[in-house]
Chain length 204, copies 2
DNA sequence: TAGTCATGCGACCACTTGGTCATATAGTAT
DNA sequence: ATACTATATGACCAAGTGGTCGCATGACTA
C-alpha cells in the first residue's frame, strides 16, 4: 500500500499519479508495464514515485484495491441482503452491475480482466492471497436456496452451474465493451434479459 | 515462418527447439517471453535460433500456426460436413473437441488462451490479420438452420447466442483444465451433457 | 590438399528494466 | 537567521532485452 507521502500529496497531483498508474497497468500486463513510462505520464521523477510506493508490486496492489473498492460501490441493496430474493432477479442485478461497472470504469475494468486472466502469475497469487474467494461461491449459495424454493430444478450440478453463470457475467461485460456502439441503456437491458431467458429456459 | 535451415535440422534437434519455444510462450506472454531462456532450454546458441527464425514474432507465429494445425486435426466428420445435423449434436462435438484438445495439448492450449485474451495487442492484430474469422460465425449459421428446422425457438438473438455458446466452449475447457483431477472421460461427457441441457432447457 | 558452403557460436551492441542514493530544494518552527 | 524535516530529482547501477556479426567448425567437392 502507498506510503503516507502519497496521501500527503495535493489531490491534484495524487490524481495525476493515480491516472498514470491506471493508464499503464490497464494497457500493459504487470510485467510489461514500465515505471519509466508511468513517471513520464505523471510528470514526476523516477525517485519520486518510490517515495510514494515501496515498489512496482505495491503500485499494482494499490490499483487492484481500487478495483475492489469501486466495485463494492456498485453493489445494490438486493445484492447485499439477498435473503429470499428470486435467483434470476439476483443474477440480473449482478449482470447489470458488471456491465455498468465496465462501462463507467473502462480502465479499471481492463486492468481487472487482465489480472484475472493470468491466475498462474505469481503476482496474482500474492495479491489474491490477501483477498477473498471467487465470485462462483455466492451464486452457489443462492442456487441452493432457489432449489429449495422450487425456482430451479434440483438435478443441476450447483458448483458447475455457478461457475457458468459467474463466467457469463464476464462474457457479457466483454461483449458490451467490444461493441462499444451500445452505450444504449435499453439495449443493455434487452440483452441481459435475453441471457437470463437463456439461463432460465434455454433456447430449445 | 521458419527459414529452411530450421527444417534442415535433424528431427530430434528441431523438436528440442520447438519444445523450448512452446515451453516459453505457453508460460509467458509474448512480451515477457525471453529468447535467452529459450536458447538455454533448447541448448543452442543465441545466434543459432536467428538462423532458424527471422525474429521473435516469427517464432511466435510459428507456434500459433501449430495451434491451428493441431486444432484442425481434432475436427470430426460431423464438424466438417454439418449439413442437416442437429445443432445440439454439433455443439456437443465442438465442446468435446475443445476439451480433448486442451487436455492432450496443454501447452498449445495455454498459449492459445493467452493469445486470445489480449486482442488489443499489436502482435494479436498482426498475426490474426493473416488468419480467418472468429468461431462465433459458424454457430450463427447452424443456429439459423436449426431455427428453420424448428429445433431452436425463433425469438433468440442469433449473433448474441452464438457468442455465448462459443465463449462457453472456452469456459468449459478452462473449467476442466483447472480441476485437473477429472481426466475421467465419463465425467467429462457428463459435464458436457449438463451444459448442453442448460443451453437447451435452462435451469428453471 | 584446397576451396566452398551451411551451420554453430557467443561476445557484443544499444537500449530498457526496476530500483537506489546523494544532493538539492522548499517549507516550517524556533 | 538557523536548524530541521519532508520531499523532489536524475545520474547511476546491475541485470536483462532482442538482435547482429565475425569467426570457427566441419562436411562435402574438386
Amino acid at each position: 500500500m502507498p506510503k503516507e507521502t502519497f496521501y500527503n500529496l495535493s489531490e491534484e497531483k495524487r490524481k495525476k499519479v493515480y491516472d498514470a498508474l491506471l493508464e499503464e497497468f490497464s494497457q500493459y500486463s504487470y510485467d510489461s508495464a514500465s515505471i519509466n513510462r508511468i513517471v513520464k505520464v505523471a510528470e514526476i521523477s523516477k525517485g519520486s514515485i518510490y517515495q510514494y510506493f515501496d515498489d512496482k508490486i505495491d503500485m499494482f496492489k494499490y490499483l487492484i484495491n481500487a478495483v475492489f473498492e469501486k466495485k463494492i460501490q456498485y453493489m445494490t441493496p438486493v445484492m447485499l441482503n439477498p435473503e429470499g430474493i428470486d435467483v434470476f432477479k439476483l443474477i440480473r442485478e449482478m449482470y447489470l452491475t458488471g456491465i455498468k461497472f465496465a462501462q463507467e470504469n473502462p480502465k479499471l475494468y481492463l486492468l481487472a480482466i487482465r489480472f484475472m486472466n493470468d491466475k498462474e502469475h505469481p503476482v496474482y497469487k500474492e495479491v489474491m492471497s490477501e483477498n477473498f474467494g471467487s465470485a462462483d461461491a455466492i451464486f452457489g449459495v443462492f442456487l441452493k436456496n432457489a432449489i429449495n424454493r422450487g425456482e430451479v430444478k434440483a438435478e443441476i450440478d450447483i458448483e458447475f452451474v455457478s461457475h457458468i453463470i459467474s463466467s457469463l457475467n464476464v462474457t457479457l461485460a466483454e461483449y458490451f465493451m467490444e461493441k462499444n456502439n451500445s452505450n444504449n441503456f435499453d439495449e443493455m437491458m434487452e440483452l441481459v434479459d435475453k441471457l437470463l431467458d437463456l439461463i432460465k429456459n434455454g433456447i430449445s
